[in-house]
């Protein structure tokens, strides 16, 4: 029985991390013309190589401009934004479009001359290292992904330079991802330009939605089968991080969660302490969301009682924030931030 309990406990850990991954890895959406335009056909700076890039799992040295690029996580977006077509990208199994990619990635790829559709890597179970080695890539870029030390070692042993996340897993910022990708491809200047464009986009959004500046927010997730805990994303998670870039602030209860992990649980008994100007959460169906906000225990959460909530039924609308890239952020800014502003103004949004 003990073994069985252990297995169940580890299954929980696995299931939770995969579920969290699902929350953070969601990806799809419709095309968006306002997005950071790909720096089409920018060319590499030949002096840039060899380049050595340090990540949390170890160093990687790229000897010359890589041609065959494999990406995990969101880096396919960054590579495409630099005008280069990756040969394989992570398949977006959760919320991706029918093709297993995102529309904004497809759009960026379409602007690259001679780009072919990349092979899709299914990482649901684990990173398919054998499949990647078989592709004989010049580099694997995975600045914000589920890559493990084992994966890193196996790929490195096969002679493939691997660029993993620089710090806490899943907590790489979109800027770090873009910058590092630029370094790996010898296109640091183009990367800087794209970052500047995205920042300008963020500033413009803050100006267009003045209500969000200075407003406090909690990004939460609810498990309808067990309402004893409310999951809260910490400030190291990309979702809160980007909202803070827009001028929103995290209340004390979120700061309490620390920065060691990207989420923590708060007992529903402390619902009244989850005070903020707005609460953001995921839902699956309108009925479930309605039930959620009608639950007496959860009505003790002030922003739910006051009607300052956004429940997104289509995670693709927020994925530009949860799995941020220079291509996905502009989409989320246009589609999600107005909803947040409306909720702050007292109009609850379930959509």
């Amino acid at each position: 029985m003990q073994l069985s309990s252990l297995r169940r406990a580890s299954a929980l850990v696995a299931a939770t991390s995969v579920a969290m991954l699902g929350l953070s890895a969601c990806a799809t959406g419709s095309s968006d013309e306002d997005g950071a335009a790909p720096a089409a056909n920018s060319s590499a700076d030949t002096d840039a190589f060899p380049v050595t890039i340090e990540s949390t799992y170890g160093e990687a040295t790229i000897e010359e401009e890589p041609q065959r690029i494999v990406t995990l996580g969101v880096d396919g977006d960054n590579v495409a934004a630099l005008g280069v077509a990756p040969i394989a990208v992570q398949k977006m199994t959760w919320g991706g479009n029918a093709a297993g990619t995102t529309d904004w990635f497809d759009d960026a790829l379409a602007e690259i001359d001679g780009a072919e559709a990349p092979e899709l890597l299914d990482v649901t179970d684990a990173v398919p290292t054998d499949q990647i080695i078989g592709l004989e890539p010049d580099v694997v870029i995975a600045t914000n992904s589920g890559l493990t030390q084992d994966d890193f070692d196996k790929l490195s042993d096969a002679g493939i330079p691997v660029i993993a996340h620089p710090g806490v897993q899943w907590a790489t910022t979109w800027e770090q991802s873009m910058e590092t990708t630029g370094q790996a491809l010898g296109r640091t200047e183009a990367a800087e330009e794209i970052i500047a464009e995205t920042k300008a986009d963020l500033e413009a959004t803050a100006e267009e939605n003045p209500d969000i500046v200075g407003a406090s927010f909690i990004w939460a997730f609810f498990d309808p089968t067990d309402l004893s805990n409310v999951g809260v994303y910490t400030t190291v998670d990309n979702r809160p991080a980007i909202l803070e870039e827009l001028g929103m602030v995290s209340p004390p209860i979120v700061e309490e969660g620390g920065t060691d992990a990207f989420y923590f649980n708060v007992s529903a008994e402390r619902a009244a302490e989850l005070d903020a100007d707005v609460i953001l959460a995921y839902g699956t169906t309108p009925e479930e969301s309605e039930q959620l906000v009608q639950t007496p225990l959860l009505q003790q959460i002030p922003p739910i009682a006051n009607g300052n909530y956004v429940i997104t039924l289509e995670p693709n609308d927020t994925l530009g924030l949860s799995f941020p890239s220079v291509l996905g952020i502009p989409y989320a800014l246009d589609h999600f931030i107005p909803e947040v502003a409306a909720a702050i103004g007292g109009e609850p949004q379930v959509y």
């Binding site: 029985m1 069985s4 297995r7 995969v18 309808p224 708060v266 529903a268």
Partner: protein, 348 residues
């Protein structure tokens, strides 16, 4: 452990005397009194102790701002007591049915069967409410129980206790793998089941409780009414038949009760492990092996352990809560090891 095996004359062997080999340490009235006191203590603690202080008077005062929190705790305490009793009595009956001191519904594949069928139901049939997937719980629990028994019956000697445990472990392993496989293929299902999988008595809706309740009650009636049957089975099938019992029909009745109890409980709270194994042993240490005493006291102590563990899980790691399924294992495992070391496993 090996030293204990060699030296302790106290170690239980399987006897053919319906467990009366060991003299109980306490008289039955004293055991019942202790049990009632323990129930009262955990009941009050469960209402008063939590992640934050709530005035207990808020329970009676509907206009009190904290009334809603006390309401939730009351429901949660009730669910915990009900399910603890169900898993406790199911474990005791399972041990009697198989004449195996290590039997519990978790070990013999019943929990895993219910869980697998429900995950499959949620994923492929779209069962979304407990009223929908409770049926999958019954089917899974029943099919797994029958399958384990059939596998154990293969070969010479029929379904011996040892073969039942091996078959149960094998079926549990297979079902757990399939459950994991389904979960890996469907992230939506993972989201719906990830906490349900470890077991939780919190945040249940009243209608979910009311759906499961009738099945649990019928299960209780069938199992609690089977004390004489289990006492007879404890003598061995041959003797039981000699006493005029139809052992096949007896097994079916107890088995049906078990499937109802476990299927409904797992549907409501997820597969809570360990409790069904531990509690009957604690009870036998107190009152010996007579199922007329073991069954009701296992129900009561199951409720005590479940409510107690849930209460502890609510305050040990603020600001979050630990699910009761995890707490049971955390509290129960060391307790069980101590019992084994001291050779105090009650005989059957």
């Amino acid at each position: 452990m090996t030293t204990t095996t060699e030296t302790s004359p106290d170690l239980p062997g399987r006897t053919a005397t319906a467990g009366r080999a060991r003299t109980p340490r306490r008289s039955t009235p004293a055991s019942v009194a202790i049990c009632i006191a323990a129930l009262a203590v955990v009941g009050v603690a469960s209402l008063c102790i939590g992640n934050r202080w709530v005035d207990p008077l808020a329970l009676l005062d509907a206009s009190h701002p904290d009334h809603v929190f006390m309401d939730a705790r009351l429901l949660r305490t009730g669910v915990g007591a009900l399910l603890g009793a169900a898993f406790g009595v199911a474990g005791a009956a399972m041990q009697g049915l198989t004449r195996n001191p290590l039997a519990d519904t978790g070990l013999l594949g019943v929990n895993a069967g219910a869980a697998f069928a429900m995950v499959a139901g949620i994923t492929y049939v779209g069962a979304g409410t407990i009223g929908g997937y409770i049926w999958f719980g019954f089917i899974g629990a029943g099919v797994a129980a029958v399958a384990v028994h059939l596998i154990a019956s293969l070969g010479r000697g029929g379904a011996t206790p040892a073969k039942l445990v091996i078959a149960g472990a094998a079926v549990t392993a297979a079902l757990s793998s399939w459950t994991t496989a389904i979960l890996l293929m469907s992230r939506e299902t993972i989201d719906a089941t990830r906490r349900w999988q470890v077991g939780s008595v919190a945040g249940k809706q009243t209608d979910a409780l009311l759906t499961a309740l009738p099945f649990i009650v019928v299960g209780f009636v069938l199992v609690l009414g089977s004390a004489r049957v289990l006492n007879a089975l404890a003598l061995g099938d041959d003797l039981a038949r000699g006493l005029g019992r139809n052992t096949t029909r007896d097994r079916l009745v107890v088995g049906l009760g078990l499937v109802l109890l476990v299927g409904a409980s797992v549907a409501l709270a997820g597969p809570i492990a360990f409790l069904g194994l531990l509690v009957p042993h604690l009870v036998r240490m107190q009152v010996g092996g007579d199922y007329a005493k073991v069954l009701p006291l296992s129900a009561a102590w199951g409720a005590v352990l479940m409510v107690g563990a849930d209460t502890v899980g609510r305050f040990v790691l603020p600001p979050s809560e630990i699910q009761v399924g995890v707490m049971i294992a955390v509290i129960g495992a060391p307790l069980f090891l101590v019992m084994i070391r001291r050779g105090r496993l009650g005989s059957l």
